[in-house]
Amino acid sequence: MVYSFPEEVLEYVFAFLSSDKDRNAVSLVCKSWYEIERWCRRRVFIGNCYAVSPQIMIRRFPEVRAVKIKGKPHFADFNLVPERWGAYVYPWISAMARSYPWLEEIKLKRMVVTDESLELISKSFKNFKVLSLSSCEGFTTDGLSSIAANCRNLRELDLRESEVEDLSGHWLSHFPDNFTSLVSLNMSCLGSEVSFSALERLISRCPNLKTLRLNRAVPVEKLASLLRRAPQLVEFGTGACSTEIRTDIFSNLVEAFSGCKHLESLSGFWDVVPAYLPAMYCVCSRITKLNLSYATVQSPDLVELISQCSNLKCLWVLDYIEDAGLKALSSYCKDLQELRVFPSDPYSAEPNVSLTEQGLVTVSAGCPKLQSVLYFCRQMSNAALIAIARNRPNLLRFRLCIIEPQAPDYLTLEPLDTGFGAIVEHCKELRRLSLSGLLTDRVFEYIGTHAKKLEMLSLAFAGDSDLGLHHVLSGCESLRKLEIRDCPFGDRALLANAAKLETMRSLWMSSCSVSYGACKLLGQKMPNLNVEVIDERGPPDSRPESISVEKLYVYRTVAGPRADKPDFVWTMDEDGALRFS
C-alpha cells in the first residue's frame, strides 16, 4: 500500500512531523520511508556530542537547517568536570560549514566554543538566523563581533549563562547600520558595558525585537529610553537597578513600562533597590515568567510584586522570599507551574532566612498546576515530603537540595526514604528527580519500584551499598541520565546491569567505589559504550586494580572512543588495554 504514494506526497506528510521521536519511528517503517525521511529532516538534536560524529550525522541527514548539540555532563555545572575535559564544537562547525551551507540555527549547551568557531559560523552560513550558547565557554567578545558583523539575517543571539571572556563591550557596535532582523538578544551573562547609543540605535531599527535581556552594566536610569524604543517587547531583562532612587528616574520608568502592552517575562534586577519594584506594577497582571533570583530584596517587597502577578506561571527567586512569601505566592498565583528557590547564602552553617520545608508544602497545596520544583532549604521532614506528594501527584520535576549533606528528617532524625518514596509513588509522571538528605538503600527500592517514567536522577551522599544502585538500574525503565557523586556504589551493581547502560544516554559516577578493574571489564564487555575513567592521579594502570577510580563517565556511542581526550581521561577498551588518544 505504501508504495502507491509518490515520494513527494510522503515527504509532504512527513513535513508535519516535528518531534524527533515521530521521525525516528517513521524512519524505521521501511527502507524507502527511511530514505525519504532522512532527506527531509531539517532539525537534529544531539544529546551527547560524543555519541555520534559530525560525519555520521551529515551522511544520514544531508539537508539539515537546525542543530542542537549538548556537550559536557550536567555535573560540569558544579565544577565536577575538570577543565580541558572536552566538548569542543569546532569539529562540528567545520564539518557543517562544508556540508550544510543553508544551516540556519545552532544551539549548544555545555560546549567549548572558540572565537575561531564563531568566526567560522559567521562566514559559512549565508542564511544564519539563530545562535544559542547555553552554559558554554571558551570564547571572547571578539567572537561575538564576528557574529554581529557578518550574520546579516541574524534573528537570535542568546548567550544564557555562558562564561565569556569579556574583552570589551565594543562587539555590539559591529552590527551594521542596515541590520534590522533581530528578534531576540540575551547578553545577560556579559560584564562589560556596551556602547549605549549603539544599543539604542540597534533596538530602534529592529521592529521585530521580542526578547531583550540586558547585562548588569546597563544602569536603571537608562532603561526607560530602551523600553520606549521597543514597546513591543515580550521578554525583558533589566541590568543592575542599584542607583539611588530618584523621582525622575522612577517616573520615567513607570511611563516606559506602561507603554509595554505585551510584556510577559521579566528578569535581571541585580542589586535592585526595592523602591524601583513598584515601577513594574503596571505590567504585572500580564507577567507569566518572573526571574528574581538576583534580587536581594526582602520578603515583604517580593510579596508586594508577586501579589500583583495573578497570571504567573514561572517564578525563580532567592530564599529571601521565606515561608511567608511562599504562602502569599500560593494564594495569589494559582496558575503557577514552576518554582525555583535559590539559596542566598549557601555556605553558612546557620540559616540566614526563615525558609523551611513549610514554604514548599504550602505552595504544593495552593498551586494545583505546580509541576516543576527546584528548592534549596536547610531542613526537611518525611511528613512534609509525603504532604507534597499527596498534594501534587502531577509533579514532573522535583529537585530538592537540603544544604547539609546527609541531613536527616529534622523532626524524627530518620532517613528521608519514606518521604521521597511517597514522591515517586504518588507522582507517577515524574521525569526528573534530585535527592538530598540522609538516604538509605530503601529509597532506591522505592524509586526502582515506582519511578517508571523517571528519565533523569541525581544523587549525592546517598545509599548504603550496591543494592541501591541495582534497584535504580534494574527498576527505572525510562532512565536516560544518571548522575551520582559520593555514594557507596561499586562494581557489582554496575556490572550486573551493564546492558542497561546501553539504553541510557549516560552515567556519571564520581567519588564512588567503582574499581579500575570493574571499569576495564565494563569496557571489554560493552563495545557500544565509551567507558571513560577520569583521574587526576595519573594512569590508572599505575595503581592496583581494586583502587576506586576518581570519576567515571559511561555513555553509549556509535562514534567509537574519543579522539580528543585530555591526558587525565582514559577509555576502557575492547582489548582490555588502556587507550590513549
Binding site: 555535573f75 555556605y347 549533606p405 567505589s513 574499581s515 570493574a518 571489554q524
Partner: protein, 195 residues
C-alpha cells in the same frame, strides 16, 4: 534475572559476606566468548571494594567541591564572593578558590595546601612557597592581575590583592624567576635555600 541478583545482593549484605560469585547478567545471551575470558567476571581476580573501609565521611560542607550544587555565576553574584581559578604547573586540573572567605596570605597558602594535597607549605625567611615532598619541586604562588600581568603573591595588602586578582597559579620556582616587582636588592627573594 533481576530478582535473583537482588536476592544475592541482599543476602550478601545481611550475612556480612561479600560474595564474589556473581555472573555478569546480560539478559538472554551467552557471554561473549573472548579468548582467555570464560564466564563473566567471577574468574577475574577482582578485589571487590570493602565498604567497611569506606572513604571518610564527606568533609565539612564548605570544603566539598560542587556542594551545594549552585552554579558559579550565582555564587559570584549573590554572596560577597570571589572565585578565582587556581592552577599548578604540571598538574592537569584547575581548581577554584573563594578569596572572600580567606583573610590573609597565610590563609591562602593553607587553602592551597589543602586543595593540592601533595604540597606542603614551607617558609623560608619571608618567602611563601609550597613544596611537593614527592619530587622536591618548589612552587611559588603567582597571580594574574586586572591588567593581565603575572605577579608574585604577597607584595600588596591583602584586600588590594583580592580586588585585583583574576586567577592564581602555583609556578615552579624556576618558572617564576623574573616575575612581579621583586627588587634585586631584597635579600629574601632569589635566595636558593631548600626546605
Amino acid at each position: 534475572m533481576s530478582s535473583e541478583i537482588t536476592k544475592e545482593l541482599l543476602e550478601s549484605e545481611t550475612s556480612g559476606v561479600l560474595k564474589t560469585e556473581l555472573t555478569l547478567g546480560l539478559p538472554g545471551d551467552s557471554l561473549v566468548q573472548k579468548s582467555g575470558i570464560k564466564r563473566g567476571f567471577s574468574d577475574v581476580d577482582l578485589k571487590l571494594a570493602n565498604y567497611d573501609q569506606a572513604e571518610s565521611q564527606p568533609p565539612p560542607q564548605a570544603q566539598v567541591v560542587g556542594w551545594p550544587p549552585v552554579r558559579s555565576y550565582r555564587k559570584n553574584l549573590i554572596k560577597n564572593c570571589k572565585y578565582v581559578k587556581v592552577g599548578v604547573d604540571g598538574a592537569p586540573y584547575l581548581r577554584k578558590i573563594d578569596l572572600e572567605i580567606l583573610s590573609s596570605y597565610q590563609d591562602l597558602l593553607t587553602a592551597m595546601g589543602d586543595m593540592f594535597t601533595c604540597l606542603t607549605i614551607c617558609h623560608v625567611l619571608n618567602e611563601r612557597k609550597l613544596m611537593d615532598s614527592a619530587n622536591g619541586e618548589e612552587y611559588v604562588p603567582t597571580y594574574e592581575d586586572k591588567d593581565g600581568d603575572w605577579m608574585l603573591v604577597g607584595d600588596v595588602p591583602w584586600k588590594m590583592f583580592v580586588e585585583s586578582c583574576k586567577r592564581l597559579r602555583l609556578m615552579t620556582s624556576s618558572e617564576a624567576i623574573g616575575l612581579g616587582a621583586a627588587a634585586p636588592s631584597t635579600p629574601s627573594k632569589g635566595s636558593s635555600t631548600s626546605c
